[in-house]
Subunit: 231 residues, 2 copies
DNA sequence: GATAAAAAATGACATTTATCACGTACCTTT
DNA sequence: AAAGGTACGTGATAAATGTCATTTTTTATC
């Protein structure tokens, strides 16, 4: 459903826009544009220059980078309250990734001028965004090191735990994020066939179990060990 | 040599501190602490919580992440005018990487309170830092995709071009950054032995040449093709 | 429910990369 | 010059992963 107003939008209070002050919320509300996207639709396309950002109201979005060989890489997932497009906008670069809806997704578009206005007028808001990007940079360097140093098996274990932490589980204890095998492969950075075999192995070895289409984590400790998580 | 004052520091004008205003420069100057580091010395240590940041005055610093198996990963390189430690500081997290001097390095330490004071009082400064981190995030996602999708050979070619773009060449056209074989391997994300063989191959195939200890790029176009750079 | 299309799975095989073991070159210190 | 350390390099082999061809299963569509 379309929110009546940003002032009462529950999702806004999850998003960076929670740090807007007083009439800035009205400003946001006056200029935002609510929109819906079907599964598979593009919110943003790699290579283009964004004219604004999206704030996801509901749904799940994957950020994908098209490699030269036709293979794609899923860089990260976004969900309720996440902002997308601001990196390229602020860096003044074309988008380095595309944003694709994985479910039916609702999102509000916020024009660049409006967002940049907030940054100019509201120091604390800029600072909060800066903190957010710093956190994401730390996350990015962890993922980079995993990709550089770990085997496909280790990475797969790691992503299981990461996705569980990020998206939680449903009532049966299954990962609350459905991914196709090819998407798993694009996330882990391997061939779909290799990934399929790996999932079967993990299942045989009792780390995970399949409930319908979904996966249940049976042995988080074992997975953490396999992933060589340092903590 | 120690700079007399931040106001006239040539390196500051390369750094984010170029966006400070009026008396903020004096504030910076009053609280910064000049320091020197020998080759191999740690400026920051993974896992610790930083009490401030460093602004590199001269020298080269590598940011390394220690993997579980003892193997390390070089996440990125920093040089004159680059700030380090601000990610963890702003994210409020322990450092996810260590900073190690590769040369004799001079750097000014800036206490956390002073830096945070600038963020609070100077909106445009925060915004500039935000732009910088967004740029780094874009860079990070490119590297992530390379690590996920490309072979060691392709990545090696890519890093040659990346390092040349970043650090330039000396008078003989050689990469102006000396890396040990093991450091190359830690950067590319492979075993040292594999990397050694690869360098020999690239040399045999005429992509690069060795001049003393350094490498000269003979065929940048060929390397770009091998790296499957999309542009 | 029949049919087509997409996704998942499997097998055989080639290729890439890691690992271990060892030898060589170079640099520093004595 | 001798000795020891570090970085560099090579060879043989094993393990991991990619690729291609094909089959089975699931899902979507009429």
């Amino acid at each position: 459903m379309e929110p009546f107003t940003c002032a009462t939008c529950a999702t806004r209070s999850l998003s960076p826009f929670q740090h807007l002050q007083g009439d800035e919320v009205d400003e946001l509300c006056a200029h935002k544009r609510f929109g819906q996207f079907q599964k598979g639709e593009f919110l943003l396309e790699e290579g283009r220059t964004p004219r604004g950002v999206y704030c996801i109201q509901s749904g799940r979005v994957k950020m994908v980078h098209a490699g030269a060989s036709g293979r794609e890489h899923i860089v990260r997932f976004l969900t309720d309250g996440d902002l997308l497009g601001y990196r390229a906008l602020l860096a003044g670069e074309p988008l380095s990734v595309s944003a694709v809806a994985m479910d039916k997704t609702s999102a509000c578009f916020v024009p660049a001028e409006v967002l940049l206005g907030f940054f100019k007028s509201n120091g604390p808001f800029s600072l909060e965004m800066l903190k957010l990007t710093c956190h994401e940079l730390a996350e990015a360097s962890r993922i980079m090191s995993s990709l550089a140093q770990k085997s496909v098996r280790e990475r797969t274990a790691e992503f299981f735990l990461m996705l569980q932490a990020r998206f939680g589980t449903d009532d049966q204890g299954c990962l609350a994020l459905d991914l196709k095998r090819s998407e798993w492969a694009e996330l882990v950075g391997t061939a779909t066939e290799s990934l399929i075999r790996l999932l079967a192995e993990l299942e045989d070895d009792g780390y995970i179990a399949r409930v319908g289409k979904r996966f249940q984590i049976k042995d988080p400790h074992g997975l953490a060990e396999m992933a060589r998580l340092e903590d």
